[in-house]
Amino acid sequence: MTVFVAPSLSYSLLAPILIVLGGAVITVVFEAFLSKAIRPVAQLSVTLGTLVLALVQVWRIRHESSLTAAMGSVAIDGPAILLQATVLILAVLGVFLIADNEHFTVVAATLPGSEEERASIQSGEKLTEVYPLTLFAVAGMMLFPIATDLITLFVALEVLSLPLYLMAGLSRRRRLMSQEAALKYFLLGAFSSAFFLFGAAFLYGYSGSVSLAGIYDAISGGTGNNVFLMIGIVFLSVGLLFKVGAVPFHAWTPDVYQGAPTPITAFMAAATKVAAFGAILRIFYTSFSNAYWDWRPILTVIAIITMVFGSVVAISQRDIKRMLAYSSIAHAGFLLAGVIALNKAGLDASIFYLFAYGVATLGAFAVVTLVRDSAGEVTDLNRWAGLGKRSPFVATIFATLLLAFAGIPLTSGFIGKFSIFSAAYESGNKLIVVVGVLSSAIAAYFYVRVIVLMFFTDPADDGTSVIIPSILTRATIISTFAITIFLGVFPAPFLNFISSTATFIR
């Protein structure tokens, strides 16, 4: 009879996640017991406090990297620290936006357009369940990129996904669309996680292990042929690529981005990408690295298709959120170039890019929340005409963020693009660099088009206006702007920090 040995979990290393989960539970409890009046403030403060606390904890354990925790289920290495910190920072900024309850329905169960709905809105109550959901999602996002076995990965995937599915459907305005977004996101997400799981099964079948290290060992010293491995990689990739919105697994992106409440879109677009790419990087860099000959061509093709597709389709979009969605698809393609690079530079570049892109994305969506008419947000691009005249400050910030997306020098986007493409080139993948820069050129078109609309077109008198943002939203907008510029002009400290920190343990 084997003796059960109590597992040692290294709680301090897991503390960031545990703090977030704990905060989530507290907010759930608050949800049940606190009066409606003080709930919004309490929930918001707990949420922010939790995130900040977790961030502090991440900072504290930064030197303890290159360790595993939770019986080897998670790795606390440089990238883990960086990615967790990134997720948390993005989450803080995202929560600033989420705090504007204006975006969320009060009672999700009321019928759209019904008397009840109106009454609920008039009651002035606020939906506070988003806070626990956000925290759960954050916990999942923090776990996803550090998980080192397929089980934890799968669980983390679901932990991050389920709250997002739910939150996508909580919009106050255009609720039918919002619910539709939730449904689509959910169905497709579940569909893709089935692929993920099936792939995991074959990887397990191939290696006899569910840990990434075990799979790596099996690849390195495998005796049989690698059919199972490849089936596994392929199906696992479907699940992962779905999350980042790579073509052809991208189709949910525009619809969900458009339908979801904008703060959620912002948070999701920024943080999910970090988490998912974090996981992809870890899996492909540590586990599949020796099988790169098998997956690299496939991923290259996908990356190319993704870049081009995202850029080209974004051109014809008439809705700002959809346009940003396609832009995120294109960026997923660029980020895949970093995965394909499969070198230290690629890892560093990807992490930098994820941070820079996440921040800029949050800022961009934050600006989107400000443009409204009497019926809520205005996302029709034509109605953004003349924004620069109405609100030069906001428009300038938005333009800057768009230029960062386009990769214009002196913005973070340029440094990101440069570093990721140079890493890809270094790995010998020249084609992707060429396609990358060409699709950047295409992509520039639609960013510039928005700038033209904002600055060079006369405003129509259609009630569109830029509301005065709340302090928190303002904080998000200004800090994203500042970070974007700062990382564009003085990226050195940050890049140094990444390159000295980011090494995967296996």
């Binding site: 397929l150 669980v155 939730a182 449904l183 959910f186 579940a190 089935a194 099964a201 079948g205």
Partner: protein
């Protein structure tokens, strides 16, 4: 007979589930098809556990069930919401978001 035969069954079930997602319109049935795919994966896990001689596969299959249960709750909640708003559970009716 060969233990690998279970894998063929698993593959077939997975394929059937996947196609079901594409061809069925009722959101609930679509979701059931996804469940079928998860089950197929589980069968593969269990089979591989036996082939590889360790229980990790069974553990992950167990997790799958738990996760699937949670997913079902969330998923059905979403479907119900949609149904209440639209009086329809057809996924084709939810097509406001396009292009």
């Amino acid at each position: 007979m060969n233990a690998a035969n279970y894998l063929y069954v698993s593959a077939l079930l997975f394929s059937i589930g996947a196609i079901g997602v594409v061809v069925r319109r009722n959101a609930i049935v679509v979701f059931m098809c996804i469940e079928l795919m998860l089950n197929a994966s589980n069968l593969a896990f269990v089979t591989f556990a036996r082939i590889n001689g360790n229980l990790d596969g069974q553990v992950i299959a167990f997790f799958t069930m738990v996760v699937a249960a949670c997913e079902v709750v969330v998923g059905l909640a979403i479907i119900v919401t949609i149904y209440r708003s639209r009086r329809s559970a057809s996924v084709d009716d939810a097509s406001l978001l396009k292009r």
